[in-house]
């Protein structure tokens, strides 16, 4: 096109300069494999959402908001099998819709918001882990929407999102059987199969295998499990799951305190 002076056209595809940088070997620092990074959790910070929570663990920052229960027209759902325990039959049970999003600046490379398959997979993992904890039978024909936004990825993002989501649900006053606490693990490449609890981004990138465990601490039931990579034999995966469950138990008191503080805050702020 002759003389288009209004727009400066750059190249069509852009890449970050780190790709062309020389490989600087930043070896991850050796550390105690069972240490958990200090966690900052706060519930009840968004005014527009029914319930919300913000969780920071090391460099990972997640913000989660819950809205609902909203009525949903589930007219065409046929007669499904009746649920056990006298709760609403399956066709009338509430639904949990989870959405997981990464901010474009959360990782090393910029990722445009429709992140494709990975975000859908993590959203499904969130839903599968939160469903056992929420009493959906008490919200017939209603829909709860949970949306998690990852502001910065500093390692074990899914675990942080799970914890933040369950805090947000509790903050919204949704009936639950128990909180869901998530914990991430990763295994470094090499012959010695040591599983590291709560990996940082550097450790996760270099990992040969990674695992996320979600536990309901009081009931001692595993709500979610997702792992992949060259993990080695079953015993090492079993050991990793045990380590993860222990980590979740250790994290639980922090979350309890956070919810108590949020309830107190709400109590003093409410007009008499």
């Amino acid at each position: 096109m002759p003389g288009d002076h209004r727009r400066i056209r750059g190249p069509e595809e852009s890449q970050p300069p780190q790709l062309y940088a020389a490989d600087e070997d930043e070896a991850p620092v050796a550390r105690d494999s069972t240490r958990l990074r200090p966690v900052y959790a706060r519930a009840g910070l968004l005014s527009q959402a029914k319930g919300s929570a913000y969780l920071e663990a090391g460099g990972t920052k997640v913000l989660c908001a819950v809205s609902g229960p909203r009525q949903v027209e589930g007219g065409e759902r046929g007669s499904g099998p009746a649920g056990a325990g006298g709760e609403a039959p399956a066709a009338l049970r509430g639904r949990l819709l989870c959405d997981f999003r990464r901010a474009p600046f959360s990782g090393r490379r910029r990722r445009a918001p429709p992140g494709g398959g990975e975000e859908r997979e993590l959203a499904l993992a969130l839903q599968e882990a939160l469903e056992p904890a929420v009493r959906l039978g008490r919200y017939p024909r209603a829909q709860l929407e949970v949306s998690a936004l990852l502001l910065e990825d500093g390692g074990s993002a899914l675990a942080a999102a799970l914890t933040a989501a369950s805090l947000a649900l509790a903050d919204a006053g949704i009936e639950m059987y128990d909180l869901v606490v998530g914990c991430g693990l990763s295994r470094a490449p090499g012959p010695a199969p040591i599983w590291l609890l709560d990996p940082t981004l550097l450790e996760e990138e270099r990992a040969a295998a990674s695992l996320t465990v979600a536990l309901m601490p009081v009931l001692n039931q595993v709500a979610g499990l997702l792992g992949s990579g060259e993990g080695g034999p079953t015993e090492s995966w079993a050991e990793a799951v045990r380590l993860g469950l222990e980590g979740c138990q250790r994290l639980y008191p922090v979350l309890q305190q956070c919810l108590v503080r949020a309830a107190r805050r709400r109590g003093t702020a409410a007009p008499p």
């Binding site: 890449q15 790709l19 046929g78 007669s79 499904g80 099998p81 009746a82 398959g117 990975e118 859908r120 997979e121 499904l124 599968e128 882990a129 469903e131 056992p132 904890a133 040969a208 295998a209 695992l211 309901m216 009931l219 001692n220 039931q221 595993v222 709500a223 979610g224 499990l225 997702l226 792992g227 992949s228 990579g229 060259e230 993990g231 080695g232 034999p233 079953t234 995966w237 079993a238 799951v241 045990r242 469950l245």
Partner: protein, 262 residues
């Protein structure tokens, strides 16, 4: 997954039977149904396979095409998975209904093959940074009769075993421009080694016991299942919990032992 309407009495019957290690079709808790595997069923593909596991019917076609390697891995080719749940499988999959299940299965397949040891990706490279083989693995669900993940993983392994990738040479001209030459002999091709390709084993938790290779009715009775992908050497590559219920930690460890023995 596709659901089937079960009455309370049928559920109780199935659950009690499983506690006694007796399933509706007479199998024990750890027995698979009879599997039929056929390869080379579709002629237009580079490799294909069809697996029938009871009422579950899966057809997989693999097409090898040339393309540019990914920026982060310039010396390797890669695999792309696509799962299509056709409306023939169950009426629930009509229109866009089967898309969710399809993406879930495709994501699980990506996870399983996400490590270095499953498929030798370096052998799929033609010239670094410029050309490589991309294997498009397309899975078609023809009939859904329970235990989809296991059948799909068997079919993918068989199709990859059957894949024939033609040998290609890159010739350089005097000016430096490259030309790709396909060998004339149609039987001159490279085959992939599928020794380390893992297979998925799904264990459904029903009551206090777990069941291998569940039918649709048994899946409707179970609240949660554990999916593990294992290679023949016992190396686990992926682990996932599926379903709305929760699992006891002890039962997870028991189930993992069973997985490896399968």
């Amino acid at each position: 997954m596709a659901s089937v309407a079960l009455s309370e009495a049928e559920k109780v019957y199935i659950v009690h039977g499983v506690q006694e290690d007796l399933r509706v079709d007479g199998r024990g808790c750890e027995d698979y149904r009879c599997v039929e595997v056929e390869t080379d069923v579709v002629s237009n593909t580079s490799g294909s396979a069809r697996v029938k596991l009871g009422h579950t019917d899966i057809l997989v076609g693999v097409k090898a095409e040339m393309g540019t390697p990914k920026l982060e891995k310039p010396n390797e080719g890669y695999l792309e998975f696509f799962v299509d749940c056709s409306a023939n499988a169950t009426p629930e999959f009509e229109g866009r209904g089967g898309d969710d299940l399809g993406t879930e299965i495709a994501n699980t397949l990506y996870r399983i093959f996400n490590n270095k040891s499953s498929v030798d990706l370096k052998s799929l490279c033609i010239s670094p940074r410029e050309h490589c083989w991309i294997l498009y693995v397309d899975v078609l669900l023809l009939e859904c009769g329970g235990n989809l993940f296991d059948a799909i993983s068997i079919a993918v392994k068989a199709a990859l075993f059957n894949t024939r990738i033609p040998k290609v040479r890159v010739l350089e001209d005097e000016e430096g421009s490259k030309d790709i030459e396909l060998s004339d002999d149609p039987y001159d091709c490279i085959r992939l080694s599928v020794e380390n390709v893992p297979c998925i084993v799904t264990l459904c938790k029903i009551g206090y016991r777990h069941v291998v290779d569940a039918t649709l009715q048994e899946e409707a009775c179970s609240l949660a299942s554990l999916l593990v992908s294992v290679t023949s050497k016992g190396v686990v590559t992926c682990m996932r919990k599926v379903g709305k219920g929760s699992l006891d930690p002890e039962s997870i460890f028991e189930m993992m032992e069973v997985h490896v023995s399968k």
